[in-house]
Amino acid sequence: MDALNNLMYGFGIALEPINIAYVFAGVFAGTIIGMLPGLGPISALALMIPITFAMEPSSGLILMAGVYYGAIFGGSTSSILLNAPGVAGTVATSFDGYPMAKQGMAGKALAIAAYASFIGGTVSVVFLMLVAPLLSKVAVSFGPAEYFALMVLGLTAVVSLSDKSLVKGLIAAVIGVMISIVGIDTQTGTERFTFNSIQLLDGIDFLVVALGIFALAEVFYMLLRGGGGKEVPRNVIGSLKLSRSEVKQIAGPISRSSVLGFFTGVLPGAGATIGSFLGYSMEKRLAKDGDTFGKGNIKGVAAPEAANNAACTGSFVPLLTLGVPGSGTTAVLLGALLVMGVTPGPMMLEQRPDVFWGVIASMYIGNIFLLVLNLPLIPLIAKILDLPRPLLLSMILIFCMIGVYGMSFSVFDLLLLLGFGLLGLGLRLFGFPTAPLILALILGNIMEESMRRALQISGGDWTTFIDKPISLSLLVIATLSLGLPLLKKRRNKAAAAAN
């Protein structure tokens, strides 16, 4: 058991008192950062580089990794309580988490999120430990053609996210794609939809859209509805306890999403956000009660939360084994490691086993810390819902504004936020689902870029998408997942007609 020996070695490092303190400090800071919309792990880590410079590299990475997965862990809180995702990876959590909170089950939703995050995080560390070196091959096997196919598969979820009207869902998805391509086109350098505004050259930040369409639109909607807080029942937190049947219900989604999330995280560029959406839509399709997703189904909280934490750990695979960052956050981590004198990559396992195994062991500890830290906090944090309606609404508003302004220090982005809030309100009033819009916003740009890159490499030959086995299988799965429900529907109709 080589892995076990290595892990013991890693624990030897991670259990040094100073490192335990760093894990704790990291996950604690991460939780707080995650809860506040806008202040994401990227900027937090960049600010920490000067602090970690003088540290032992293993301690530095233990601390910074803790902030990263702690933020993903904590991000679910504001998604659930305020419909304002704290980090991009927890947008999907709000789909069912917020309805649960509105139904007086905030405590349960937060507890499920905590358990799912814990399991997703822990399962993925096991994977990271056992198969990281092998997985570096998987990570590089995805070229542009394969990414295109993966994004197509991801987009088929629009169908399942569209509840009532597929047409409305598709319209929302098209809007999402349009928002995603604003800015300088990376393949040609051409400006698209920028209207000569330099603020739009880099595109629109995902969180500005998400906060606008979810949180701000919710505020507007409640204002329109009027009423002085009659809808919010007292003692809104509800029980944290899960019944045995509930545990049974979420066990499957959590384990499936943990694995799916991990592998999504391994792919450079995919990450926690895409992982959580894939987990959510997979479970929605698998579930017998799939039509209650989006209305407060506990599986809809469990799946994305397990997936995003697993993906966060998975993103350490390309960073540690290849030395290439798969996301903005891991890019900052890579920079920090270089400054500390560690070069991640194929030789890291041999040259700096202390960093590699120390961090892996610290992740086990960190996940336990997160669970024991978060569970007792739930009743306290959820008290926020006890606030009188006018106070709560103004607080959400302030949170969103500070979050967006804190990201870019740009007043323009605040105006964008307002615009997306109004767009979200409009969509809601006319019965358009917003989840497909957000999904298309995340996937649209990567899908388009990958497609054009693949075609440029192949010299314009479209068969490149079906020549490659991975790409072909993903496209086949995508076709099946679109076609089968339609076939089923037709058969049901035929059966009904025959009767």
Binding site: G143, I198, V332, G341
Partner: protein
């Protein structure tokens, strides 16, 4: 006796010194009166950001300046948002920003209203070089092999970490011209960053990658999946890149600098420029800077304000001719 003569000299010298001070006092004696905003015109994590944070840290660690350097990120438009902001701050001696070839390339591509002539050059700090990478098991052993293959089949894809018409593309196009190819014939595939391009190279999705040597050095060496064919420096680099031959060694008469430097607000007072020139020159001499540069694969390439300004003009000329060849001039 000696004390007396010293006193006398002092007495004589004082008015002279005072006279000298009235003419050049400000030129010598300007110091910042509050903390300096040091802008990285990009998100945290990139090259500009690393430069800004490393410089601020070294200056603080070594107590080189009385006021602190505050690193500020102003992302957007490949730098254009920050440039527009600094350009408004005419004459402000407390506002600096990190710069590199995009300062020339982005305006040439028509994506910024301001170009390098709108700002005050302070100093060039250091430089990185381009490097050509292939997969470890690739059939190409040197640049000659690669270009023979590219000439025979221009469809072969060369990846880079930035958009068409930006740094990596210009560097590759210039090398292709030197190799006797049409600059625009290279099938340049833009990826979302150097790391992304290298991953695709490891996976065998593209033939070669052009990237920054500093970024690639961690990927080379024993057990690596990548191999370097050449660097764009005039002389071989040190450390992990000592084995990599230059373009020129292999008969390709071409060099390319990925320089990094500092510029300030328009019409910054000369005294302030002089202060920063000296500060940065001192910073380059410190051990803390030496260590950080070695880690990050940076090579010092100091130029003072005047030299840097002239260098920038010359870069603009060179880049616009490559962009014209590529049909990307706007």
């Amino acid at each position: 006796m000696t004390t007396l003569s010293l006193k006398r000299i002092a007495v004589l010298a004082l008015p002279m010194a005072a006279l000298a001070m009235t003419t050049s006092a400000q030129a010598q004696e300007w110091t910042p009166s509050r903390s300096i905003e040091f802008i990285a015109p990009a998100n945290p994590g990139g090259g500009w950001d690393t430069l800004v944070r490393t410089m601020s840290r070294v200056i603080q660690q070594e107590s080189l300046a009385d006021e602190s350097f505050a690193a500020i990120n102003v992302p957007g438009g490949g730098g254009a948002v920050a440039w527009a902001q600094v350009a408004r701050d005419n004459g402000n001696p407390h506002k600096l920003f990190a710069t590199s070839p995009p300062m020339i390339l982005v305006p040439l591509a028509g994506a910024s209203r301001f170009d390098h002539t709108d700002f005050t050059p302070i100093a060039r700090i250091n430089t990185d070089y381009s490097i050509i990478l292939v997969a470890a098991d690739s059939e190409y052993q040197d640049l000659e092999d690669l270009f023979t293959a590219l000439k025979a089949n221009p469809g072969l894809s060369v990846g880079g970490g930035s958009a068409p018409g930006s740094m990596d593309h210009i560097s590759m196009a210039g090398l292709a011209s030197a190799a006797g190819m049409e600059a625009s014939a290279v099938n340049y595939i833009p990826f979302s960053g150097g790391g992304d391009a290298m991953t695709n190279l490891m996976g065998g999705h593209i033939e070669a990658v052009i990237g920054g040597a500093g970024e690639a050095v961690g990927q080379l060496g024993e057990g690596s999946q990548l191999r370097a064919l050449g660097v764009s420096s005039e002389e071989r680099l040190g450390g992990g890149l000592a084995e990599v031959p230059t373009y020129q060694e292999q008969g390709f008469d071409y060099t390319f600098d990925i320089w990094r430097g500092v510029m300030g607000a328009p019409e910054m007072p000369e005294e302030a420029v002089a202060y920063y020139e000296e500060l940065f020159a001192d910073m380059l001499e410190t051990t803390a800077w030496r260590e950080a540069s070695d880690q990050l694969g940076w090579i010092d390439a100091y130029q003072d304000s005047e030299e840097f300004g002239a260098f920038l003009d010359q870069q603009q000329e060179q880049f616009s001719s490559v962009l014209t060849d590529l049909g990307l001039m706007r």
